[in-house]
Amino acid sequence: MTDQELRDVVLAALGRIAPEADLGSLDPDVDLADQLDLDSMDTLNLVIGIHEATGIEIPERDYPKLASIDAAVAYLAARPRSAP
């Protein structure tokens, strides 16, 4: 997957979690929890959304590495992927 595709996956998952948010206005390198008021349930749903779209397993200890859109894309690009 290209970085752009990964970015789209992250944005799509965020769109389901916060349907009212204007995703285009998100700052890609600012903390998502601050921009979107994400809580732990939202973070879990983000991880599930990414997994469903890409097959990438994200262990719990790596959740902090998904803090911003840029960070998430960089992290996902470096992760091995199982079949979705």
Partner: protein
């Protein structure tokens, strides 16, 4: 005959607006089925029915705001058939005729006078139920011009509908109205929104069945969404809604975000004012070491696919539910000057909504659920709370509530009890702190649990017992 009334969806609710009917007269329903959607100050709630049977007549039209307790629909015994079956709309005998807009031309039984708080209109010469009067207002029909056909000279709903101005119907139907309404009928349908109008799934199905084009229907739901009632009312009701001369409030107010915010704020204000005015709170707190719980959770989650992982909150909720069962004086309601314990633990969970405000719906029988079931229930509940699709039973009956502000990074929550409950549990964030034990100090995950409780019912000793019970439970996470 059974009755389906506007439920009380929380102690602070006085009235609700009917947003959508999910059933039609003649539909068989079972206990627990969702039959309507009601808008409260806080959110749209799916309302379940508490008896099985057959829907008789829908007495309150979509868009009406009525007090708690108002009769919304009659419910016939299971297996009953309607005395006058609803006019089959697509198979109407006269091809040119406009499909009958509503169901049975049966007489509308008047709801209890006190229930419908609407000033008596100056039509003393006619016998007319408040529901029919309201329908007449909506349709712009002067009741003085309507020929009554009901028993004892009553004006029935069908009479009003016949007298309604026939406008906005796509085919130029020869109006079968015996008494055309004298009022000018603004023959303009609401301007169809560009593109596909927002609509509820049931409304789309209904529209397909009836051959109604959704683009021609004025939506009365949230943000102008088309709901089932709009479709059923489409042939005659589409036009009068924006009538400038109509004395009645026109279309049901489509709520804007700001609107919702303001009304939710008012609802919270009313409930919290009452709480602080009436409930003598006391507070106790306890730091709970979570080494065992966190280790158990990490190990469990490491083996699970993402979709089955548990949040730490689930352990806290389960422990709180079990503690509530162990200390029934904290699980129940203060009503009529006395404490009434609940015979089950319906655990309210405070869910903050994006954009502000919160709701605290209940997870039913939380003390009996396994952790996986509880996690699934929590995910479902949080998702629906934020999507505005909670159910009436969840809103009405939490027996004790938990607030978990740990995600916000605070250590301690000093909660305000939601009346008529008598206790509220708070959890701060789970964080590593220096923890002394057995003469050693080391870093351990710790959470601060608090309890706000009603001093009329319990004293600090019981409250302390509650928290130490939670502490004990969290030290044996495998048993939760």
């Amino acid at each position: 005959m059974g009755e389906f009334r506007m439920p009380s969806l929380g102690a602070d609710m006085e009235s609700g607006t009917l947003l959508e009917w999910r059933v039609q007269p003649g539909d068989a329903v079972h206990k627990g089925d969702i039959v309507a959607v009601v808008d409260t100050d806080k959110s749209a709630i799916e309302v379940e029915i508490f008896e099985s049977g057959v829907i008789g007549e829908l007495l309150v039209p979509v868009g009406d705001k009525v007090p708690v307790g108002t009769l919304l629909a009659t419910v016939l015994p299971p297996g009953a058939t309607l005395a006058t079956p609803p006019a089959a709309p697509p198979a109407a005998p006269a091809p040119a005729e406009v499909p009958a807009p509503r169901a049975a031309p049966a007489e509308v039984p008047a709801p209890p006078a006190a229930a419908v708080a609407r000033a008596a209109a100056p039509h003393a010469s006619h016998l007319v139920s408040p529901v029919v009067r309201h329908l007449a207002e909506r349709l712009g029909v002067d009741l003085d011009s309507v020929a009554p056909t009901g028993a004892g000279g009553r004006i029935t709903r069908a009479d009003v509908e016949r007298a309604a101005p026939e406008v906005a119907a796509p085919p130029p139907a020869p109006a079968p109205a015996p008494a055309p309404a004298p009022e000018p009928s603004p023959a303009v349908a609401a301007a169809p929104a560009p593109g596909r109008p927002r609509s509820s799934p049931y409304a789309r199905r209904l529209a397909a069945e009836r051959g109604v084009d959704l683009a021609d229907v004025a939506g009365s739901g949230p943000d102008g969404a088309v709901v089932a009632g709009d479709v059923t009312a489409a042939p005659s009701a589409a036009a009068p809604a924006p009538a400038p001369a109509a004395p009645a409030p026109a279309a049901p107010a489509a709520r804007t975000g700001a609107d919702r915010q303001a009304s939710m704020r008012r609802a919270i204000a009313a409930s919290m004012e009452r709480s602080k005015r009436e409930i003598p709170h006391y507070y106790v707190g306890l730091d709970i070491e979570l080494g065992a719980a966190t280790a158990w959770l990490d190990a469990a989650n490491a083996e699970r696919p993402v979709a089955e992982r548990l949040l730490p909150a689930v352990l806290l909720l389960k422990a709180a539910a079990l503690a509530a069962r162990a200390l029934p004086e904290l699980n129940g309601f203060w009503v009529d000057g006395g404490f009434r314990p609940a015979d089950h633990v319906h655990l309210g969970v405070a869910v903050s909504l994006r954009g502000g405000g919160l709701v605290a719906p209940a997870i039913h029988d939380a003390d009996t659920l396994g952790l996986d079931e509880l996690m699934a229930a929590l995910r479902d509940l949080v998702g629906r709370a934020r999507a505005g699709r909670l159910r009436s039973s969840e809103m009405a009956d939490p027996t004790i509530t938990v607030t978990n502000l740990g995600d916000q990074g605070v250590t301690t929550v000093y909660a305000v009890i939601t009346p008529p409950q008598v206790a509220m549990v708070g959890f701060g964030r789970v964080a590593e702190r220096p923890w002394a034990e057995g003469g050693m100090v080391g870093p351990r995950p710790v959470v601060t649990a608090t309890l706000a409780a009603d001093h009329r019912v319990t004293d600090g000793l019981r409250g302390a017992r509650f928290l130490t019970t939670i502490d004990k439970l969290l030290h044996a996470p495998e048993d939760l």
